[in-house]
């Protein structure tokens, strides 16, 4: 029989080796998968996407902007552009580069997959907001259109991604641009955030960190060259105009305009009551629908009925039934408290 010490050492080594190989995200298998991504195809598709974005926003695109957006050298950008022209996806003219109908269709395909995937991650998984874009940047080069259609069918054929951008249809239709940027609002005007641009990343992550998301109601308080001050769901936010430009808003039509600070359901104590104002946009997908199915809609009266032993979850009286919600869920429900 093998000496126990030797076998212990062997045992530990085997486990260590397995960890090194299979460790999620950083293990050898994970690294190998990451490196396998086809860089050539990625360059082509990313530049098409960039060109499309220019077209959609009415800006002129140049080789330099491609190089900048893809973080490659100008030489490489020129090579990619030449390849694109050869494939008949792009034509160059005096204004720079523009897409051919084929090129546009290709770009829309990539964008469709990108936005569908973001929507899928937001609604159907528990992957964090900061990882959506990055993951979609990878998936968009790997998924086929047929797979994307299947995914779309599964998640209820969404027409908007979680940032508020429209998702192109399978046929490549996309509605025109709507809304205006936050910094162009008038003082005192009410509006709703309909879109937050997710590029460049450093601005986007700052906006996410401020707790801003599509669907929030905003009211402009102050607008100077140095800063834009506004209320977002009742809370004051100050942004530099450069940052505010990346937020698109649209006027509020039929909704109640909410003034004052929102209170969260989680702030109520047993026996206290409140009336629902709305569910935070951060609560998405099935989770959000389930809350509404249970009767959590604007106007519903909720009473805190019972705390569990650990204080979380808490049971609430909602439309005659006792429903237990976790604290993390109750934090996403905005209420106005009642006496």
């Amino acid at each position: 029989m093998i000496d126990p010490l030797t076998s212990l050492i062997i045992g530990f080594s085997v486990i260590l080796l397995l960890v090194i190989i299979f460790y999620p995200g950083k293990g050898l298998v994970a690294r190998f998968k990451k490196n396998k991504a086809n860089t050539y195809r990625v360059l082509i598709e990313d530049s098409l996407k960039h060109l499309y974005n220019c077209e959609y926003n009415g800006i002129n695109c140049t080789l330099n902007s491609i190089a900048g957006s893809l973080s490659i050298s100008a030489d490489e950008a020129a090579k990619v552009a030449a390849k694109l022209e050869e494939l008949g996806l792009v034509v160059s003219n005096e204004n720079g580069l523009s897409l051919t109908p084929d090129g546009r269709a290709y770009a829309l395909k990539v964008i469709r997959i990108h936005r569908l995937w973001e929507k899928y991650l937001a609604d159907e998984t528990s992957i964090g907001e900061e990882d959506w874009h990055h993951s979609a940047e990878e998936i968009e080069h790997q998924m086929t259109l047929a797979e994307a259609d299947k995914l779309a069918a599964q998640i209820g054929n969404p027409v908007f991604d979680p940032h508020g951008d429209p998702i192109p249809t399978a046929k490549g239709d996309l509605p025109g641009k709507k809304g205006k940027s936050l910094d162009s609002m008038k003082i005192g005007e009410f509006a709703k955030i309909i879109h937050i641009e997710d590029e460049p990343h450093y601005i986007y992550s700052q906006l996410v960190a401020e707790g801003l998301y599509p669907g929030m109601q905003v009211q402009l308080i102050e607008s100077t060259k140095e800063r834009i001050k506004f209320l977002a769901n009742g809370e004051e936010v100050v942004l530099a105009p450069l940052f505010a430009k990346n937020i698109t808003v649209a006027p509020i039509k039929d909704e109640r305009k909410i003034e004052g600070t929102f209170k969260k359901l989680s702030s109520l104590k047993p026996g206290e009551k409140g009336k629902v104002l709305g569910i935070s946009r951060r609560c998405r997908g099935q989770q959000r629908r389930r809350l509404m199915d249970l009767g959590v809609v604007p106007g519903t009266e909720i009473e805190v009925e019972l705390e569990s032993i650990g204080g979380d979850p808490i049971a609430y009286r909602i439309k005659g039934a006792t429903i237990a919600l976790r604290k993390s869920q109750a934090e996403n429900i905005y209420i106005e408290s009642e006496e």
């Binding site: 069918a153 209820g156 969404p158 039509k253 629908r289 199915d293 439309k319 005659g320 039934a321």
Partner: protein
């Protein structure tokens, strides 16, 4: 007389045989198919057991009835097939349970859909009721747990409710087996067309919602003039429901037609009285 009635009925196109077969319902020897819908915790299974005599356990949890339960019962010489749908809070979300229930009521076109509600929390249960009434014209509301409601001194005016919803409302206490005969009778009356439902349809004050639903409904009616629950189809299309999109694409939507009970019902009625 019994035999004759049955023969007559087998020839009348009361239910949607083709689609029912697709859904795995064997309609041999049955005259009517009845779907049973309702929220979890409303005593739906007790109602099912009382009507069919079949013992089936469904606990306090949503999603218990994953495999569909079926049973049969006879009333007034007619044979009814009862299909127990999964208990759901709503029909508008994406869970499998809701899909099963929703697709059965829409594509299966049951002759009657019985909606079981908890009388002590009517308001919350009406959410599902209103959704079902968008899909089908023939429904019966089973106002269950009426004993519990009485104990808690909650009064429900079933006549007013019936008038508002446009369907028969039968108070029952399935645990005590009260009201079951009236329920069977109401099912029979709706199935045979004696009672013509005028179901309540959801109204909304939100303009954009109304505009979207109206516009789309109109378009659907142009292409599929025989479909009467266009509003539901429109709602589902606006929610991106793939099974409806597929049905529109393939033209299957045309095969689910609302039966004109004024005509069939009349002929049936004359036979019944004969």
């Amino acid at each position: 007389m019994n035999v004759m009635m049955k023969d007559n009925c087998e020839t009348c196109p009361v239910h949607n045989l083709g689609n029912l077969k697709k859904l795995g319902i064997n309609m041999n020897d049955f005259d009517f198919v009845v779907a049973l819908a309702g929220n979890p915790n409303t005593g739906k299974s007790t109602v099912f057991n009382n009507l069919t005599g079949l013992k089936q356990h469904t606990g306090n949890w949503p999603g218990k009835t994953v495999t569909r339960a079926e049973g049969g019962f006879e009333y007034n010489g007619f044979k009814f097939k009862l299909v127990d749908l999964p208990g759901t809070y709503s029909l508008l979300s994406t869970s499998t349970d809701e899909e099963v229930a929703r697709d059965f009521i829409l594509f299966g076109q049951p002759d009657v859909t019985v909606i079981v509600v908890d009388a002590t929390r009517l308001e919350r249960n009406l959410n599902l009721v209103l959704q079902v009434l968008e899909i089908t014209d023939r429904a019966v509301l089973c106002l269950n747990l009426i004993d519990e409601a009485e104990r808690h001194k909650i009064k429900v005016d079933e006549r007013q409710l019936s008038k508002d919803l446009g369907i028969p409302v039968i108070p029952t206490a399935a645990r005590l087996k009260t009201g079951m005969d009236k329920l069977s009778n109401a099912i029979y009356e709706v199935a045979s067309g004696k009672y013509v439902c005028k179901p309540y349809r959801i109204k909304t004050k939100i303009k954009e919602l109304n505009y979207a639903i109206e516009t789309l409904s109109k378009k659907i009616s142009e292409v599929y003039p025989q479909v009467t629950n266009v509003r539901w189809i429109a709602l589902r299309l606006l929610e991106g429901d793939q099974s409806i999109i597929d049905a529109v694409k393939s033209g299957d939507l045309g095969t689910i037609k609302e039966i004109k009970h004024e005509i069939d019902g009349q002929s049936l009625e004359t036979e019944l009285t004969a």
